[in-house]
């Protein structure tokens, strides 16, 4: 295999891995939006917080697996706390209030992170089993990226099973299409909201842990990756899981090949793509007319 091809393949793997992480974040965002009508601007901050939790847990227990297990759960509990204490009270005031509130929460989390962990980049070590390369068919793949892709796939299957094979999933899907009716049928919507918000932040947490060893953990993480995730959700269509998945993969590939060929203008590619999509479909690729 000549080096050019293997470089293309390696970039492709990087792109898909990044796309998968984007999808983990975007899926949480889009589920919360579809269900509750809230665009959670603090989502990226939760994602970053999970990275820090992972760093802390790994530092204490010495095991990345504990971080992978515990950090998303801590993040989810924090998300549920935010939903119960803040978001629920202002739901009646409409979208503007929610946007501003989540913006405020994102700022406070950022300040909190800077106070507790400082502003420098913190490395997260992965176990030796996930480092190095694996050789398949004459091509070398970085194991950790493959692990991220596998992890995202597992989470995706788990999500689909939860959403389409359980009673809870049925209720959530019903509530997405008509919240008031589901409420009138005697289902406790606030509790469902809490669960959905918890699952959404858990997904952001998994993404935060997955990206921690690649990019290290630093306060700018939320801006850097979070912005991409927001663009994914806007382009894919609010509330659409399939749209989020497809656009995540496209963006992952765009950013990894973009960095290679047009390193200066890689971020411009994504925004350009979004502008083109929105010019023809204002509600995103898979969005429904309001």
């Amino acid at each position: 295999m000549d080096p050019t091809t293997s470089m293309y393949v390696a970039q492709g793997i990087h792109g898909i891995a990044y796309g998968m992480i984007l999808f983990l974040i975007a899926s949480g965002l889009t589920i919360i939006f579809g269900m509750m009508g809230i665009l959670n601007l603090a989502h990226a901050a939760f994602f970053m917080l999970a990275g820090y939790f992972c760093y802390q847990v790994t530092a204490i227990t010495g095991s990345f697996w504990m971080g992978l297990l515990l950090a998303p759960v801590f993040t989810a509990f924090f998300g549920i706390f935010v939903e119960r204490v803040f978001l629920r009270r202002i739901h009646a005031f409409g979208h503007l209030g929610e946007l501003i509130l989540t913006l405020g929460i994102a700022q406070v989390i950022l300040a909190f992170v800077k106070i507790v962990w400082g502003t420098e980049s913190l490395p997260v070590k992965v176990p030796t089993i996930l480092t190095g390369m694996v050789s398949v068919g004459g091509l070398d793949y970085p194991i950790y990226r493959l692990f991220v892709i596998g992890l995202a796939m597992v989470v995706l299957v788990f999500m689909l099973l939860l959403l389409y094979k359980t009673r809870l999933g049925k209720i959530v899907r019903a509530a997405v299409s008509d919240r008031d009716m589901v409420n009138a049928l005697g289902i406790n919507i606030p509790v469902i909201y809490m669960i959905v918000f918890g699952v959404g932040t858990w997904l952001a947490g998994v993404a935060g842990v997955a990206i921690a060893p690649i990019l290290t953990v630093f306060p700018g993480l939320a801006d850097q990756v979070g912005m991409d995730a927001f663009i994914v959700v806007v382009t894919g269509g609010f509330g659409s899981l399939a749209g989020a998945f497809i656009v995540s993969i496209i963006f992952g590939l765009l950013s990894s090949y973009g960095v290679q060929f047009l390193s200066q203008l890689a971020p411009v590619l994504m925004v350009g793509f979004m502008a083109i999509v929105l010019a023809f479909r204002p509600n995103g690729l898979f969005g429904v007319e309001e």
Binding site: L96, L103, G104, Q107, K114, L265, V268, A275, L278, G284
Partner: protein, 333 residues
């Protein structure tokens, strides 16, 4: 009659204070006041969009920044350009930008509008950082010449090294902008915007052209943000990506509008004043900018969702109205 008399007296007092401000308070507070005036106009321009048309932009900094960059580039590269044409070039740049964007952005509302602007704002921020040969990258454009303001046949005012003169220039430019926006919202056209905000479908059925009206107000809002950005750039003699195009620059006017009261014309001005005073006081003790702004946002949304304007209205209703009226209002609300 009594009310108009009081109003005239108040405006005269305000005018006199404004004219003698540099003499009364010294140079430090004069500069602080220019910053306040810039951000007040900027916040009002955002509120024209947010409060009157219901469109929340998370990327208003792009107009602010493009106005600044346009003026700075004109002053740097065009030899012998006068002051006001340079401001005009900055404003023209924002006008063109808004004109190009409006066919796209007037098709979306609500959250999609906000996010689209966040993305465009980031796009300009990244471009300003990356196109080093034009924008100077992280350093921005600094130390560009600021020509004297020449009124042909009347006088010439030196701007460089004369903060008082710059104060009067900023005051006049920003005052005119503010007055124009106030006038604009009072026209029948401005009132249609409120109708569109409250019920776009009904406004459409009544025969008003909804996307076109939105486009006009979008351009107007962009232009005045550009004026503010242009004055801001000249005031600091520096236009940088972080100072003029960053995300925080987009959030500041939203915070000001929220504190002061969205939808009230003078609300954002009060909000900017409160925010500036808070900044002056709080940041002498701590540099945790995010913590303070975040906490303010949360507190305002939780406890005063209508901002200061709504809070005052509530107090008025509770304590200064006749019992019958307040009882009636409580019943209907």
């Amino acid at each position: 009659m009594k009310n108009t008399a009081i109003k005239i007296v108040l405006w005269t007092v305000l005018f006199v204070i404004m004219v003698f401000f540099p003499k009364l308070f010294g140079i430090y507070y004069t500069n602080l006041f220019v910053t306040f005036a810039v951000f007040a106009v900027y916040a009002v321009s955002l509120n024209v969009l947010l409060g009157y048309t219901g469109l929340l932009s998370f990327g208003h900094a792009m107009f602010f920044g493009i106005g600044g960059y346009g003026t700075a580039l004109a002053l740097k590269h065009i030899d012998g350009i006068a002051l006001l044409p340079a401001v005009g070039i900055g404003v023209l740049a924002t006008f063109l930008l808004a004109l190009v964007l409006c066919p796209l952005v007037t098709r979306v509302t609500g959250t999609a509008f906000a996010m689209l602007h966040l993305a465009f704002g980031q796009l300009f921020y990244v471009l300003a950082l990356k196109l080093r040969n034009i924008t100077g990258g992280e350093d921005g454009i600094g130390n560009f010449p600021i020509p004297d303001l020449v009124i042909p046949g009347v006088a010439s005012f030196s701007m460089k090294g004369a903060p008082q003169n710059f104060y009067y220039l900023a005051l006049v430019l920003l005052g005119i902008s503010l007055w124009l926006m106030w006038f604009f919202t009072k026209t029948p056209f401005g009132q249609i915007q409120v109708a569109i905000r409250d019920n776009a479908k009904r406004a459409d059925y009544l025969g008003y052209k909804v996307p076109q009206s939105k486009a006009v107000i979008y351009v107007v809002s962009g232009i005045f943000a550009g004026v503010a950005g242009s004055v801001y750039g000249m005031f600091h003699n520096l236009v940088s990506a972080d100072g003029s195009l960053g995300v925080m620059v987009s959030f500041t006017p939203i915070i000001a509008a929220m504190i002061g009261g969205v939808g009230s014309f003078f609300g954002p001005i009060w909000g900017t004043a409160i925010f500036q005073i808070l900044e002056e006081v709080v940041f002498r003790f701590t540099d945790r900018v995010e913590l303070v702004t975040g906490a303010i946002l949360i507190l305002v949304v939780m406890f005063a969702p209508q901002g200061l304007a709504g809070f005052i209205k509530m107090l008025k209703m509770r304590y200064f109205s006749t019992p019958a009226v307040s009882a009636k209002k409580e019943k209907t609300s």
